[in-house]
Structures are given as structure tokens and as C-alpha cells.
Amino acid sequence: MNTLGSLVVDDLRVSADVELVHGVSLTVAPGEAVGIVGESGSGKSLTLRAVMGLLPRGVHRSGGRVQVDGTAAMIFQDPLSFLDPLARVGRQVAEVCAAAGRTSPRAARVRALELLESVRLPDAADLARRYPHQLSGGQRQRVLLALALAQEPDLLLCDEPTTALDVTVQREVLDLLAQLRAERRLSILFVSHDLAVVTQVCERVVVLRGGRVVETGAALDVVTSPASDYTRSLVDAVLPLPVPAGGGDD
């Protein structure tokens, strides 16, 4: 059986001066999307970064096992700190394409433009020539997604990948991820504070609190009938929004 894109995290421990992640275990099957939810400081981002082997300075993996089958790429929460402020964004994407595909610079430029279009950036050719600070927050977030896809990953780690997007563009980007899963069996580990988005994207969800797994299960079950009080409090914290009155304008 092809296991490309699978992930096993077993009893992961991450520490700074004190232990921050206390034995988290989770799995992602090839082509599966798994969500991680939990409040600030629950260890969501640290878990993702530990999988990538990119923990912040002063923080290290202090125990457990991480096994990725294939290539993993990550979309970080803060685009600015992962883009080179002095290079045009198109060139940054092309460089990653060239490294990943070992292609000619010219082919890499073409591929970069394709990727920038695929992440729903309007006027991609124009935006490609700009520097990161000349883009809006949501445009930078999509460049980051293009950078991750340029690595041709088997597993995509997403840390709040759509927070800077309006909901219509968000929907398009989530559709793109769904398409990549269908076409390429891309596996996804998806951190988000938005439970509705997680339920849309993921089959399974892991709820973290204080660096521990408090609940895990089918995404729909977890949000509709949470097993723990903590998960219930997360669901209850979702702000209500009325549905606009049906059809036509008045």
C-alpha cells in the first residue's frame, strides 16, 4: 500500500524551560485531512512546528516520535516573517519551484505563475513582480500557500491558513485544497480556531488543551456532540450570525 503523505505523531513532548506539549499522539492517513483545535497556548502551533522540525528558538522536542512519509510543507500563521522582504514574491516562489522540481529557471517561472494563479490571486503576473510589503495581508497569505505548494508536498501543514482572507476567497482556497486532496492524495494537518472551517475541511479533529489531547473523533461528531466540557465550551464560544432573508434584494 502507498503510504506517501501519512503522518504518525506518537507521545510528542515539546519543552522550553518547562514542558509545553505533554505527550500528544495523532495520525494522518494518506489523503486524509485532520484538524487541530484548541485555545491560545494549547500547543497547536508547537505541535505543527515540531512535525516540521522547525521549533522556535529556545524550544525543543523533548520526547516522542514523529514520522512523516514523503515531503511535508507548512503554511505559517505570520506570512511576513517567512517572506524575504527584499525579493519579489514571484521570484521567491520560482526559486522554490526550481529547487523542488530541479527544472530550468524558465520552467520554474512559468510554474510559479501557475501556482500564484491557482491560489486565486487576481492579476498574478502583476502581483508576482511586487515585494511582500506591496501586497495586502490576504494576498501575502495566498503567496505563502503557493510557496508551500511549490514544494510539491505529500503532507501539508496549515496553521490558520485563511484567517486573512474574506469568506468568498476563503471558500475558493478551501476548494483548492479539496481539489488537491482528490487529485494528488495530498494529506493535510489543519490548525484553525474556526470550528466551522475545520468541519468543512477535515474528516477528523483533535482537540488540544494545555498541551494534551482532550478529545479526538470524526469532525462532525465532535462539533455536534462534544464528549468533553472543554470542547463544548469551544463550540458555545462561536458567535451566532443570522442567515440573510431569502432571495432577491429589497
Partner: protein, 287 residues
């Protein structure tokens, strides 16, 4: 902690009387912030195109719309960090040019998405606030043009933290010692330290978790209303806008498509794009 703000349905009643603050000047208009036919261009391309809106003191306008539509650029024009290619920005009826006096700059404060980027990591919270309070010329009748003595500044700094719901021992700590949500509260305290009239919050909660988002929003909404600020809240989170805003403005491609009282906007969006936005909001099953 501040009172959780109830969602005012539709338009609020008559605005409360506003206290005189720095930068206040009597004008013939309603008071508050007015953006009149404002345009901003980058390299000859208009990214904000003749946008007009007004925010009365004590009310909150939510600005939503397409990513890249010019919301942040409009915010920057309002705080004076980018120049207008046309139109004007007015505070209480008087024009705020590009070259603003220090009182005018203090009057319009920006809270950004990433509070870490906007806080100097080398200064304690107390030092940040003290520097601001030290610059401030007192406008009170008893000490016109005077400065606050040290002890009074310390007291005021502690009061500001209390306003946003942080303990006064936060004064001696550095930005890195706080969570994202707390840092955002600190950024708000800093914005309020200079007694602004206008508060512009550009996606102030989009990098925070739901649990903390609430607190930060309650603080912005509660203090914005309580201190009679004209508040502009930019967000992609429509449920957030629904929870705290009196009016909603929608932008796409640099243009303002719709401006409506929140109650009406969420029930009967006036523009097809507004409706498309509301219908694209991901919802929990069964809600």
C-alpha cells in the same frame, strides 16, 4: 474586565455628548470622523476610489470586503500614514491633512492585526505607556500646558491597564511575556493612553483564538462606546462585525459598495456582493 457589550440592534439612539479632547475643534458638522470622496493611488493605480463614510462619536463602523480591496489602505489614509490622491479626512468638521500636528496624530489611533510587530520588545509595558504619557501636554484647566508628574503618570498607566482588564503588575513586564490576546490589549491601552477621538482597528482579532477574541472585542467595543470614540473595525469575520458594529461598510476593488445599519445589513444586504459574502460564511452544522 469590562462589561460584555450587548449587540445594539440597528442604529443606536442619539449619540451621547462628547467630552472635549485633544484635537477637538468646534465644527458645524455632526462631529466624529468623516471620510469624503477619499482616493489613494499606488504607482498611478487607484486602490481606494472615492470612498465616503462617517462615524459618529460613540459608534462603531465595521468595514468588510474582498481581500485586497483597499481596507488597510483606507485605514492608513485615515491615520495619515499614506497620502490621499483626492478627497479629505475630517475630524469634527476640520480637515486632517497629510502633515498632521502632534495633537492631530494623537487623535487618530491605529490598532493592527499583529500586536507584536507594533510593540517595542525592549521596553516594558510601563515604559511604553510612560513615554506616551510624558509627551502629553495636559489640557486640563488647572494645569494648562503642564505635564503629569511621575506618580500621576504611574497611576494613569495602571488605570489604563485596568481599563483593558490587565493587572497593574503587567507594567513591569516585557511584550514577549504576554499571550497574543494580552499583547493586543496592551496595544489598545497604548492607543487609548493619548486620549484619541478615533480608533481604527485593522483585523485586531484575526490572529487570536476565539476565546481571547471575545475579550479583545468587548474591550474595543466597550471602551470605544464608553469613551465616545469614533471606531472603525476592519474584519473578515462577519460574526464579529455582527456582534459589535452599529453600521457596516462593504468594499470591493477600492470602491465602497454598501453602507448600512448593521441590523439591516445582516438581514437584508443591499448589494449582491454583500449577500455573496454573507452566504459564504462557513457555519457550524445545525446553526
Amino acid at each position: 474586565m469590562t462589561e460584555p457589550t450587548a449587540r445594539p440592534d440597528g442604529y443606536p439612539g442619539s449619540p451621547p455628548a462628547r467630552p472635549a479632547g485633544p484635537g477637538a475643534s468646534a465644527g458645524p458638522t455632526l462631529g466624529g470622523l468623516e471620510v469624503v470622496e477619499a482616493s489613494v493611488a499606488f504607482a498611478g493605480h487607484r486602490v481606494v476610489d472615492r470612498v465616503s463614510l462617517a462615524i459618529r462619536p460613540g459608534t462603531i463602523l465595521g468595514l468588510v470586503g474582498e481581500s485586497g480591496s483597499g481596507k488597510t489602505t483606507l485605514a492608513r489614509a485615515i491615520v495619515g500614514s499614506v497620502a490621499l490622491a483626492g478627497g479629505s479626512i475630517r475630524l469634527d468638521g476640520s480637515d486632517l491633512g497629510r502633515r498632521r500636528s502632534s495633537a492631530e496624530r494623537r487623535a487618530v489611533q491605529l490598532v493592527q492585526q499583529d500586536p507584536f510587530a507594533s510593540l517595542n520588545p525592549l521596553l516594558t509595558v510601563g515604559q511604553v505607556l510612560d513615554d506616551l504619557l510624558r509627551e502629553e501636554r495636559l489640557t486640563s484647566a488647572t494645569e494648562p500646558g503642564g505635564r503629569r508628574p511621575r506618580l500621576a503618570r504611574q497611576q494613569r498607566a495602571a488605570d489604563l491597564l485596568a481599563l483593558v482588564g490587565l493587572p497593574s503588575d503587567a507594567l513591569g513586564r516585557y511584550p514577549r511575556e504576554f499571550s497574543g490576546g494580552q499583547r493586543q490589549l496592551i496595544a489598545i491601552a497604548r492607543a487609548l493612553a493619548v486620549q484619541p477621538r478615533v480608533l481604527v482597528a485593522d483585523e485586531p482579532t484575526s490572529s487570536l483564538d476565539v476565546s481571547v477574541q471575545r475579550t479583545v472585542l468587548d474591550v474595543i467595543a466597550g471602551l470605544g462606546r464608553g469613551m465616545h470614540l469614533a471606531t472603525l473595525l476592519i474584519s473578515h469575520d462577519l460574526s464579529v462585525v455582527h456582534a459589535v458594529c452599529d453600521e457596516v461598510a462593504v468594499m470591493r476593488d477600492g470602491v465602497l459598495l454598501e453602507l448600512a445599519p448593521a441590523g439591516r445589513f445582516f438581514r437584508h444586504p443591499g448589494h449582491p456582493y454583500s449577500r455573496a459574502l454573507l452566504e459564504a460564511v462557513p457555519r457550524l452544522p445545525g446553526r
